[in-house]
Point group: C2
Chain length 219, copies 2
DNA sequence: AAATAAATTTAGAGTTATCAAAATTTAAAT
DNA sequence: ATTTAAATTTTGATAACTCTAAATTTATTT
């Protein structure tokens, strides 16, 4: 049985490993979890002896198969609870992440099975992120940030990179929601901001916002 | 902000104070929480400095108004989650207590408000226990254990004293459910077991079971 | 190739909660 | 009123996690 803290470390390492496609560094973990490098090193030792991660001194860590399975289990719980909060309790999508951070640690396999059924076996959470299945299988469909696109390119908005409440509320304000068509109309060289066509409306977004909008390319 | 452990102590002290109508002893807390008297004394000091309980050395503790409010808030959460688990996720009534023990510590006032609304503002949990309102008001209608009754007396079964899974499953087996009429038909002097009329069926129950069946007297 | 900078680990110490066992106080029995 | 028993508190030690600051290793400049 893992502690609350151990679970959070595994989840953080998983997320960082997806971003970097490589070994995860001590400092990046410290930044993600908002703790100090010294604490991270301590926990790395612990998770290593439990064979949840592999670690060579000064060389960063990677999750073992077992560690990855645990991490995906927590992410599954997190995202299912987010669906519950939005679809059943009528929370806004920017309010649910913090609460799900707590709910993801509730221990009961049966609870998650029943919750999944109650929600109608959803495949994505309110921010467009895929929900791993019971066995930890996750459908990672290739996502492109619109900041990588050129003029005239576009697709369907499927997710938002960071579930930051301020970001999500701003998107609400602009009328940007998941599932609609988005297309790059112009790129302003000066600051990288973009003119986009979202659902037949023209909008200007900063490069910082653009980075956070993830699409599935339309063929 | 209280820790998980502090919350559990306050809840335990509240429950014990209801049973005893008096100061709660160190040993009874230790038994309830399944810990040692030494640990209880340590925590008593901590909760006293936080003014959540009052304590005189060797004389037991009582909750302050603030402590009572906190305890009732946790009980409110516990019982609302139990309703959710039974009514929405189709758990059996003997399966929910353990999970609610975890869920009761999730911190979010808004979550509980919304959950309460989603459940239709229930007034009792699946075991018949009253749910405190947002302000900590609890409708403690007078409950009588049928073990205190004489032959011919009875009422409506409104609650079960202990939410012990084995007990609850046995009651299921006997067909004993909350909300139906119950009446004492005979008392066997030898071991205190009782013959009861439950919902027009005759049943024999041990004195141990009888103690746990709580009724509201019919007038 | 040295020197400097950055990242990582180690060392030492603090917090919260736990336990077993000893010491103290209160309650019960003789 | 003593003695004995029971309840409670204190003491000393441990576990999990945290921090700051010093020491070490690796990476980057010059
Ligand atoms: Mn989230
Ligand atoms: Mn978390
Ligand atoms: Mn319960
Ligand atoms: Mn609890």
């Amino acid at each position: 049985m893992l502690t609350f803290v151990e679970e959070n470390y595994l989840k953080a390492i998983y997320h960082l490993s997806i971003e970097s496609n490589d070994k995860v560094t001590t400092n990046s973990i410290a930044a993600q979890i908002q703790t100090t490098p010294g604490s991270v090193t301590e926990m790395i030792k612990k998770l290593s002896t439990k064979k949840l991660i592999k670690h060579e001194k000064y060389q960063g860590v990677i999750l073992t198969e077992e560690g990855k399975k645990v991490a995906l289990g927590i992410i599954r719980k997190h995202r299912l609870w987010e669906v519950f909060l939005v679809n059943k309790l009528a929370f806004a999508w920017d309010e649910v992440h913090e609460i799900a951070e707590q709910l993801e640690h509730i221990q009961s396999d049966k609870l998650i099975e029943k919750l999944d059924k109650f929600l109608g076996h959803p495949t994505t959470d309110p921010h467009g992120d895929p929900i791993p299945d019971v066995n930890g299988k996750i459908k990672q469909l290739k996502k492109y940030s619109i900041s990588e696109l050129g003029i005239g390119e576009g697709g369907i908005l499927i997710a938002v990179k960071k579930s930051n409440p301020e970001l999500l509320r701003y998107l609400d304000k602009l009328g940007i929601v998941i599932g609609e068509k988005i297309k790059v109309m112009d790129i302003i060289e000066f600051d990288g901001s973009m003119q986009i066509n979202f659902n037949k409306k023209l909008l200007i977004i900063s490069s910082e916002i653009a980075k956070n909008l993830l699409i599935q390319k339309a063929y």
